[in-house]
């Protein structure tokens, strides 16, 4: 039974492009996902891929243009703002920028206690004691409760953000790049905390990140987004070890080596991610893809299974027409073989 199900999610923004002209920015274009109980689904993509918009839509901070979001049996998209309020207890969010996500005029304790009182979970002394307990659970001391956000370090701020999300004992937590603003050593501690909390409370995480290492470490499954669409989805190991979509391959080969002996060959995409305003009605990677053939510009690429649970949206990959590189998943990452039309550049 999935705890969160996204069906055909679409989010368009109207953008003013001239004095009286408006165009649609296709931030998210028809995405379906489901998240099992106690599972972590990683959502990877570069900026402009629409991954953060998915996070905002799932938590209903932005209303989807169309599509459905089921939390348990409830379709969130049919609820009004006020009807959503009690439901929000079950789906919480941890934000990207810890310093901006805490109200600067409230102490850490007040911030964490707010959801408790809002949802009538506890009040008065009981609420304060529960808050103190939450602080301990995320590795802070109750003394930190009287601190204002600017008196806390980045890692501590993000712990407060996590405590706030945990306060209502949610089923699903959406984590939008929770560690990207933090230093490596702090990041490692937070990742460990998130994993421990998940085990204790059987939480489901939708983990949004551009950092493949972090995603690879935490996620059971991973979905790769490009220009508002999912191009590949599957078990983390499947996707990262044998990426079938050229975009996933490029992402994987762009992961910096963890030591200089592993500096390696790259799969290059030409240019940069195109504008999501009026995207083409065919495979969206065509303009940058080293494997593109004219047929790719004929029709949209849809997700098709290539192995159980492993889906790819690429015309050529599903027919086995492009070479699939193997990335050693675990310690070192290298490109074994690459032939065909790939633009491969040697380094030294």
């Amino acid at each position: 039974m999935s705890s969160l199900r996204i069906e055909h999610l679409v989010k368009h923004y109207a953008i003013r492009t001239g004095f009286a002209s408006r165009q649609m920015l296709h931030a998210v274009d028809d995405i379906s996902l489901d998240l099992g109980a106690g599972e972590t689904l990683g959502l990877v993509g570069e900026s402009g891929s629409g991954k953060s918009t998915v996070g905002k839509c799932v938590t209903m901070l932005e209303r989807p243009t169309s599509g459905h979001i089921f939390l348990g049996d409830v379709d969130l998209t049919t609820l009004s703002y006020n009807e959503l309020r009690p439901v929000r207890k079950d789906i919480q969010m941890v934000f990207q920028d810890p310093s901006d996500s805490l109200d600067p005029r409230r102490t850490a304790g007040e911030t964490v206690m707010e959801p408790l009182t809002l949802h009538h979970i506890a009040s008065g002394k009981d609420a304060i004691e529960r808050t103190a307990k939450l602080f301990e659970q995320v590795g802070l001391k109750p003394e930190h409760m009287v601190r204002f956000p600017h008196q806390l370090s980045g890692g501590q701020q993000q712990r407060v953000g996590i405590a706030r999300a945990l306060a209502t004992d949610p089923k699903v937590i959406v984590l939008d790049e929770p560690t990207s603003a933090l230093d490596v050593s702090v990041q490692a501690k937070l990742i460990k905390l998130l994993r421990d909390l998940q085990r204790e409370r059987s939480l489901s995480y939708l983990f949004i990140s551009h950092d493949l290492s972090v995603i690879g470490y935490l996620s059971t499954r991973v979905a790769v987004m490009y220009l508002g669409q999912i191009v590949e989805i599957g078990e983390t190991r499947q996707v990262f070890e044998r990426p079938h979509h050229p975009y996933t391959m490029a992402l994987m080969s762009a992961v910096p080596a963890s030591n200089p002996l592993e500096r390696r060959e790259r799969i290059h995409l030409s240019g940069e991610i195109p504008s999501p305003i009026a995207p083409p009605n065919h495979c969206r990677l065509v303009s940058r893809c080293p494997f593109a053939v004219p047929a790719c510009s004929q029709q949209p690429a849809v997700l098709e299974p290539i192995a159980p649970g492993h889906l790819v949206a690429c015309h050529r990959a599903v027919k086995g027409e492009i070479p699939i590189p193997t990335f050693a998943f675990g310690s070192t990452v290298t490109v074994d073989s690459l032939e065909g039309g790939a633009a491969v550049e040697g380094l030294e």
Binding site: K56, F95, R105, E110, E114, M145, V146
Partner: protein, 297 residues
């Protein structure tokens, strides 16, 4: 934010103890001599206003035909006006009336303007558009013409001065609040307040507005000075309080009637009082700007 205050018997506190906040406040004051000077002036003015009956050497409305239009002397430090009233006493009592007018006008326009601006920015869309265009219209009114209209409707007096000054200041506050609110609305802490299940009122008035108040407060202290000037101006052209009242603007107008006679003391001293008051509030405002930001402690 009082609802979240810790109960004394709780083992854990949610707010730093008052002593610590007091210490921080004092430290911020010490680092900010401008604000201290402003504060001293403002507090002195308030004390003068409160204790006017005690401080003033004469009854300000007592006419004494023996000492008409006398220059400053040891008996009458600021001289007397053409009715023999003591100018010093008039200036002291004037602090009462002027501070009252300025305070009520500023508070009225601040509260109304802030709410309008906050709601407008938060709601966005058509609400925002309509509200802000209304503000434009209001702001486009020439101030004194507007005051004349109000004076025509309810007659000259303190009420006219307060209403005219406050209504015309509402657009300024609304605009200021809106401009601070627009980026705040996009902040992650606002999104977080929504995502934990807060109502619109909660998100707007418990989280966003408190974080947008610093410029509003600063602006208000500056507006105090302006409001005094404006009230004095309205009285000066005869739309405010009656010309015999102990009010700085009215006094200046009185003094001007005898301008050619060289009776400079009648208009100079109330003029100086206005200048000092405006200066005090402005210094305080500048100082507050630095102090009120929690991130700068």
């Amino acid at each position: 934010m009082s609802a979240t205050a810790a109960q004394p018997e709780a083992t854990y506190a949610l707010r730093p103890p008052f002593s610590e906040r007091w210490r921080q406040g004092m430290r911020a004051l010490r680092a900010n001599p401008t604000a201290v000077v402003g504060l001293v002036i403002v507090v002195a003015l308030v004390l003068i206003a409160i204790f006017a009956p005690v401080i003033a050497p004469y009854d300000p409305q007592k006419l004494d035909m023996e000492v008409v239009s006398q220059p400053p002397s040891s008996a009458h430090w600021f001289g007397t006006d053409q009715f023999g009233r003591d100018v010093l006493s008039l200036v002291i009592w004037g602090a009462r009336l002027d501070l009252f007018i300025a305070l009520s006008a500023v508070i009225l326009s601040m509260v109304v303007g802030t709410v309008i601006g906050a709601v407008s920015a938060y709601a966005g869309g058509m609400t925002d558009e309509i509200t802000m265009r209304t503000m434009d219209i209001l702001q486009a009114f020439p101030r004194f013409i507007f005051a004349m209209g109000i004076a025509f409707a309810i007659g000259p007096g303190i009420g006219t001065v307060v209403i005219a000054t406050s209504v015309l200041n509402i657009p300024g506050y609304a605009r200021l609040m809106r401009s601070v609110m627009l980026p705040a609305r996009k902040s992650q802490y606002a999104a977080a307040a929504t995502s934990v299940g807060g109502s619109h009122t909660n998100v707007l008035f418990r989280h966003l507005v408190p974080n947008c108040l610093v410029p509003i407060f600063v602006n208000s202290t500056l507006q105090f000075g302006w409001a005094i000037l404006e009230a004095a101006g309205l009285s000066f052209i005869g739309l405010g309080v009656e010309s015999s009242a102990a009010e700085w603007g009215a006094l200046i107008q009185l003094g001007f009637q005898d301008f050619n006679a060289g009776h400079w003391w009648i208009y100079t001293f109330p003029g100086l009082a206005i200048a000092v008051a405006v200066l005090g509030f402005n210094l305080l405002g500048d100082g507050l700007q630095d102090m009120l930001d929690p991130r700068r402690q």
